[in-house]
């Protein structure tokens, strides 16, 4: 009897395996490799990397969805992400397949026309001690992009590994433990593949165990061997960098996390990354006096062949308020009167100031304030930034009201540059908070910030938390082209297209399309959760699709007290919504 039952169970199990085998085992039979040439010049119908191209513009040359047609958009399909919790997903599309990563490093390949699952990869993460709560939360916080190269999908994981999968079936090819997650290291942003290398940057550098080292790194794309690493808080080759920390030795330095995927200029084989704040946040606790604490809050230009620093520019010296400046570095070329200008344009930091640099030399060109901020007093013509020293605490517990807040201002949500209108569209939040240093004994798996933050509040006289800022950009100035203000805060990255539109969304679950020229909202659709992640677009069989991620990130709830009339959902809602135009025939 027992044996018979066992046999029956065995038969049933076998049948189930066979059935699921039929459903999942086919994979993709005609996957065309993503070549280096395609990465350098992405086909218009694809979305091959984080922001669509090496220049990080977040711009698509597709124009079937445009000012005239956008009103006809219909839902093509939707898909729930594989995990609840906070995420900032950046879907990619190639070969008619959408690759979506969500938190806990789960990757899914979906048929981009129908949303049908093709394969799924679930990374096995080590379980951390519950007392390491900052690290556990941090590892889920920023999860954006993966990379496509040849017939592979490349991801960087919360347990500090590089993982390489077969694009056709999601099977693991190789993985490499890059740094020690027991110290606090985790990857929170995706890699960039260029020049035969996986270029990545580690996060978790504000966790106690990581003292002294925060890295941008290059690994051989085929073998995983380390080619070079650049330490953002300890550069033995630059005495000025060392001096900028005062008496503080490397083993008591933290921060400098480059937590947005960098840009790449193939012409000069240079990669550009932004760097986050110093730790501890307050110079009183940090011990660095009036030092500028390089290379925190800077743009770094690194030689991709060697990892050597070509130049740096510091956007916010002497940070005392956790106002990271790691956000998207966008490469812009403009031909003016026969002269080619090679710009780097960015709103690098939480305080929302836009900058343009000459990206070959690092020379400062201009800056432009956006949201209310009180930490930078002035910027000289040579690019020297003067901070507001009145906001520096000289005693433990000394409190100041600082704008922008630790949640931005600007946060991870990336802006887009449109070559069509030569404008940079930036999603921003108006917010301030009090900051007061505390004296804290650090513990394993937890942060070294050592401050008490007050709740995020609107700046005096401001009633709208959300700001979509369009900046007209050229080599000599950036000027406001238009502003769109809204009660709810902006919670997604934005996408500009050759259809003359820019797409983005807010905490009130509304995805919108703005006219790039006028700022007029020409389409709006309410979805299931705060709009999130990185909206993107692609084309299959002559039809243009628009993909909108929804769900919570660490931006969606930070200032909901500024718009209490708009209740946020308590469900996670993590989903992908895909729209397209009705067939014309």
């Amino acid at each position: 009897m027992k044996i018979e039952l066992m046999k029956t169970l065995f038969a049933a199990t076998t049948a189930l395996v066979a059935l699921s085998g039929t459903a999942f085992a086919q994979g993709i039979t005609d996957y065309k490799p993503v070549t280096a040439e395609m990465l350098a010049n992405p086909p218009a119908e694809d979305w091959l990397m984080f922001r669509g191209a090496y220049n990080n513009q977040g711009y698509s040359p597709l124009d079937l969805i445009n000012k005239d047609t956008v009103g006809k958009l219909q839902l093509a399909w939707a898909w729930p992400m594989a995990e609840a919790g906070i995420q900032e997903t950046a879907p990619l599309v190639h070969n008619g397949v959408m690759f979506v990563q969500t938190n806990n490093n789960i990757v899914e390949a979906l048929d981009a026309k129908t949303g049908t699952l093709i394969w799924q990869y679930r990374h096995t993460l080590a379980e951390l001690p519950a007392a390491w709560s900052y690290q556990i939360n941090q590892a889920r916080r920023q999860k954006n992009s993966i990379a496509l190269y040849e017939d592979k999908v490349i991801l960087t994981t919360a347990d500090a590994k590089i993982v390489v999968l077969n694009a056709a079936d999601g099977k693991l090819v190789w993985e490499k433990q890059v740094l020690d997650y027991n110290k606090g290291y985790s990857y929170t942003v995706g890699p960039l593949v260029a020049d035969g290398k996986i270029i990545s940057a580690i996060s978790g550098c504000s966790i106690a165990g990581t003292a002294g080292g925060c890295y941008i790194m290059a690994h051989d794309v085929n073998t995983g061997d380390e080619v070079w690493r650049f330490n953002t808080i300890d550069d033995p080759e630059n005495p000025a960098q060392q001096a900028s920390w005062g008496d503080v030795p490397p083993e008591n330095r933290w921060g400098g996390t480059p937590w947005t995927t960098g840009a790449y200029d193939a012409e000069t084989n240079t990669t550009y990354w932004g760097v986050g704040m110093p730790g501890p946040y307050s110079e009183l606790i940090r011990g660095s006096g009036d030092g500028s604490v390089l290379y925190t809050n800077s743009t770094l230009a690194l030689d991709v062949a060697t990892g050597k620093l070509k130049w740096y520019y510091q956007h916010l010296p002497r940070d005392n308020w956790d106002l990271d400046s790691p956000f998207e570095r966008i490469l812009v070329d403009q031909d003016i009167d026969g002269v080619k200008h090679k710009l780097l344009v960015t709103v690098p930091g939480k305080n929302g100031i836009a900058f343009a640099l000459d990206r070959d030399t690092g020379k400062y060109l201009w800056s432009k304030e956006t949201i209310v901020q009180n930490v930078v007093k002035s910027i000289d013509a040579d690019g020297t930034v003067h901070i507001n020293e009145d906001l520096i605490s000289h005693a433990v517990g000394e409190e100041h009201l600082v704008c922008a807040s630790v949640s931005g201002g600007k946060l991870w949500q990336a802006g887009s540059y449109s070559p069509l209108t030569q404008a940079y569209f930036v999603p921003l939040t108006e917010a301030c908070n009090t900051v007061a240093p505390t004296q804290t004994e650090f513990t394993a798996g937890n942060a070294v910030g050592a401050v008490k933050f007050g709740p995020r509040v609107l700046p005096e006289g401001i009633t709208d938390a959300g700001l979509m800022q369009a900046l007209a950009v050229n080599p000599t100035q950036g000027e406001s082209k238009w502003q769109y203000r809204s009660r709810p805060s902006m919670t997604s990255s934005v996408l500009a297209t050759a259809g003359g539109l820019v797409f983005g969304g807010d905490a009130a679950r509304a995805v919108k399309a703005w006219d790039q020229e006028t700022g007029e909202v020409v389409w709006s659709q309410t979805l299931n959760a705060p709009i999130g992640g990185y909206p993107m677009t692609y084309e299959i069989d002559g039809e243009q699709y628009l993909a909108i991620p929804t769900g919570y990130s660490n931006a969606a709830s930070s200032i909901s007290s500024a718009f209490p009339e708009i209740p946020l959902p308590t469900g996670a809602g993590n989903s992908i919504f895909v729209f397209k135009l009705p067939k014309s025939n």
Partner: protein, 179 residues
């Protein structure tokens, strides 16, 4: 020593916390979908009961920020303190007293037991976990800062390893079954 809150407040706070906060901050205050609310560093950074009250009574929960009412927010602060190891007393926590209730002082005794509770609640003990005393500290740790702790208050913390009784044979090599 006055603990700054009552048993009744902490009990009511537990119910309110589990209903309004645990979805993101975790039943064991561990997160992970919002910052964890347990641990000595968390207590030190919020500084006082008033510090955490001032934040949550404006910003939390995101679906109804500031809408739970003063009594409920005070109860939730009491529960967070109790979870972190503080003991209840006779005097209730009020908006008048909260700014003088030190989270670090009230919860210090409970730090080790809190770590053990977190492990019991499902957290894994990591291999290669550095002992608490090995964690790198700020350059200024141990130095007198204006308004800061006296250096003798900054002695290394006791190791967080839980003092759970072990089997008589623990630590000894035992025979194993050969394959």
């Amino acid at each position: 020593m006055a603990a700054g809150f009552t048993d009744e407040q902490a009990a009511a706070g537990q119910t309110a916390y589990n209903s309004n906060c645990a979805q993101c901050h975790g039943r064991q205050l561990e997160g992970p979908d919002a910052p964890g609310l347990s641990g000595s560093d968390v207590m030190q950074n919020w500084d006082t009961a008033g510090g955490i009250y001032d934040f949550i009574s404006v910003a939390m929960p995101p679906s109804a920020p500031g809408q739970l009412g003063e009594e409920t927010y005070l109860n939730i602060v009491a529960y967070i303190m109790q979870f972190n190891g503080a003991s209840a007393g006779d005097a209730p926590l009020t908006t008048d007293t909260m700014a003088s209730v030190s989270l670090a002082a009230e919860t210090a005794a409970g730090a080790a037991s809190m770590a053990a509770a977190a492990l019991d609640a499902g957290g894994a003990a990591a291999t290669a976990t550095p002992a608490a005393t090995d964690v790198p500290q700020a350059f200024t740790w141990g130095k007198q800062l204006p308004g800061g702790l006296a250096p003798d208050q900054m002695a290394p913390a006791a190791a967080a390893a839980p003092g759970v009784p072990q089997a008589f044979t623990w630590g000894k090599t035992l025979p194993s079954v050969a394959n």
